[in-house]
Symmetry: C2
Subunit: 420 residues, 2 copies
């Protein structure tokens, strides 16, 4: 049984590697044609997809899974249309493959450059969200990579049905169907075997809970790009423009509190706290934000709860906010270095030197001056669609778009050069 599972996974990985050799060479126009056809097919097969999906959903319901879980699992009309639109958008994005990033001539006449190429085979491990199957497959395909998809077991039927539609288009166009494969079994062991196949898989991207990400990090022999939690801070400096600070603090916390680039802790300079804190508290009250503050905060927001030490560095993903009054920019920087998650950090100030110091010294995938943390997103930063926001420093730090799914090789044009 175990042997059979091992063989199944190995065989899929080998076929993915083989398919990747073809994908590497595809022209952008062929790739775009595939994406547009898949989008069309998703819309045309909506009824079938929803029928298959309802089996997954019904089983999840009998297992008593939460409404939020069921919501993510469901292929509603809206979700199917969003998947189709997403593919059409990816088709519009420039193809990074083949770009020569830089080129220079060496003293001996050798013309040397770096050319963008696909990574090869990417494995994506994700929660029970079937839309990720199509979103991830689209981005990997456009960037010339084969993809092995391993979604949450509750979504298995839906994921297989979605992959079938992609494969159908690939077959029709004479392209290798193994470019997009869903691991067809719910067993956890299958994932473990997959993570050993460094010879065939170039990168694994785990998305989901911290436990899953740690498990993948421990087991994987190939590079892992992590999308960990976001404990994002906004620091309101003493020289902040109060109206900017106010609208950014509200936007960063309230516009969509359940996502990784929402603010979790607000740091306020003591000189501005007396004027800023009561005002921002009034705004937060309108949204029902629960404030957990340090003793200094409680002076200005008497109805706030007292923060416990574990409230700092915590990802609430909810309308709950930790607040701390700090003595200086230095204290804010130390707090962020200790409690931040290298995700997104913002300073609100009109002071030039402190803005530049914050920008230089904070180690996070995105550091902002006078703008909301919510901008840490591929679309918002101008990269187009993204596969997630990496908090791993290697290869891709921040939103991962098409370019981040490629690497560069060196190329050299000579006319007989030898080394002396």
């Amino acid at each position: 049984m175990e042997e059979k599972l091992k063989t199944l996974v190995l065989d899929m990985a080998k076929k993915a590697k083989l398919a990747s050799r073809t994908l590497m060479q595809l022209s952008s126009s062929v790739k775009n044609e595939v994406l547009l056809k898949v989008a069309q097919r998703l819309r045309a097969n909506k009824g079938y997809l929803q029928e298959v999906n309802s089996r997954d959903v019904n089983l999840a319901l009998t297992q008593g899974l939460s409404p939020a879980f069921i919501d993510r699992l469901t292929l509603s009309d809206k979700v199917i249309e969003a998947m189709a639109k997403g593919l059409e958008e990816v088709a519009q994005l420039p193809d990074p493959v083949g770009e020569v990033v830089k080129m220079w001539r060496r003293p001996n006449g050798l013309l040397v450059g770096r050319m963008r190429i696909p990574l090869g085979v990417i494995a994506i491990i994700y929660e029970s969200r079937p839309n990720v199957t199509i979103d991830a497959a689209g981005l990997c395909f456009k960037s010339g990579n084969a993809v092995l998809l391993r979604g949450g077991k509750e979504a298995l039927n839906s994921n297989l049905a979605l992959a079938e539609i992609f494969k159908g288009v690939l077959e029709e166009m004479g392209l290798p169907q193994e470019a997009v494969q869903v691991i067809p079994t719910p067993e956890r062991k299958a994932m473990e075997y997959l993570l050993e196949l460094e010879e065939y898989i170039d990168l694994v991207i785990p998305r989901g809970g911290e436990g899953l990400i740690r498990f993948v990090t421990e087991k994987a022999r190939m590079p892992v790009i992590k999308h960990y939690k976001g404990v994002c801070h906004v620091y309101v400096d003493e020289a902040a423009d109060l109206s900017k600070a106010l609208s950014i603090a509200v936007n960063a916390k309230c516009q969509r509190p359940g996502v990784c680039n929402a603010m979790e802790t607000l740091l306020v300079h003591k000189a501005i706290a007396p004027s800023f804190l009561p005002e921002v508290a009034r705004e937060y009250a309108k949204y029902g934000v629960e404030i957990r503050g340090c003793p200094e905060t409680l002076k200005y927001i008497p109805y706030a709860k007292a923060a416990t030490p574990s409230d700092y560095g915590y990802e609430f993903l909810d309308l709950i906010l930790a607040v701390k009054v700090v003595d200086s920019l230095e204290e804010a920087l130390s707090h962020i270095a200790q409690y931040g998650s290298n995700h997104t950090e913002a300073i609100i100030t009109e002071n030039y030197s402190r803005a530049m110091q914050f920008l230089k010294e904070v180690d996070a995938s995105l550091v902002l001056v006078n703008a909301s943390t919510r901008f840490n997103d591929g679309g918002e930063l101008g990269l187009g669609a993204e596969i997630g926001i990496s908090t791993t420093k290697l290869h891709a730090y921040g939103p991962m778009g098409l370019e981040e799914l490629t690497t560069t090789k060196f190329i050299a044009f000579g006319d007989g050069q030898i080394r002396s």
Copy 2:
């Protein structure tokens, strides 16, 4: 005992992380001053270093280690001068840290860019070659990273003495000595503990034998950049300029056969084999190269040995060469895809379309047209000093210079932007 070792390694990693926060902010001029002082100090302490080194060498001699091993272990006058010169060269190289790679304005006015920053803490695991201690420390320091060094146990005393000199300069200049640390114990367990500390170590670079690299890949929870073997091919196309083909084939094999970018297999198009093979064989005979050929090769070089299947894809690192006659560029490409190691591949041809096809289709860290494989080297390609040649596709594919020891973070200058 095990607990004590664990605590020691953890403590070193924590201190390295702390030091990295200071290193991140250092100006280029301070970093260069350190490097130049260390170079000076190495020369001034030559006698002391050689005395300590002789203890390592004597022990290795009593253990009957090979002359090549002893050679790599010895801190000769020449090696010490090369280390000092190396540091002076690194001081001359441009500092990648702080470079803003790209900057663009979003429709909402947000000015977004990518700024180059150090990785943080880098662990280097290497053979018993004490010069790597200084070379690696110099590159990591210049790129703003703290480094944890774990060399072969036979070189431990030498490595510690070299690190002491670096630390002395750091102390004098009021900089954290934990920027450069040598793991002070030969136990293998220490390395295992190190590889678990993903929270403090951002990257591990193993150098050395395949066994060691596989061990590190399996155990490490942080990203690993591998410097595996180089099984490099030269393909002599039917349209090759024979004199270029001849000098490149000789240079790629004979100029320094023991290194990873030397050619291991020569592929020759059948149309050119009758004229090229006897001629290149005469040249190889002058160098004492042993030829192991396919049946077709033996027709033109009767005194060659018959190649066994395992000769293809083998890294001889010696004056031994596998030769194969192929029917077409396609056969050469398939051979390289099957037996190559993603390191360095070259085509010799005057045919434009085949040159471009080879360049596009071959997946290797460097692909050359009409030049020797020996050019896969940071210095030769114009990157300056390098820490090795990565065959890992993620983050750095090819020679790793200073820039490859950094990453980029996103920065954004706003004037109050919020997300709607």
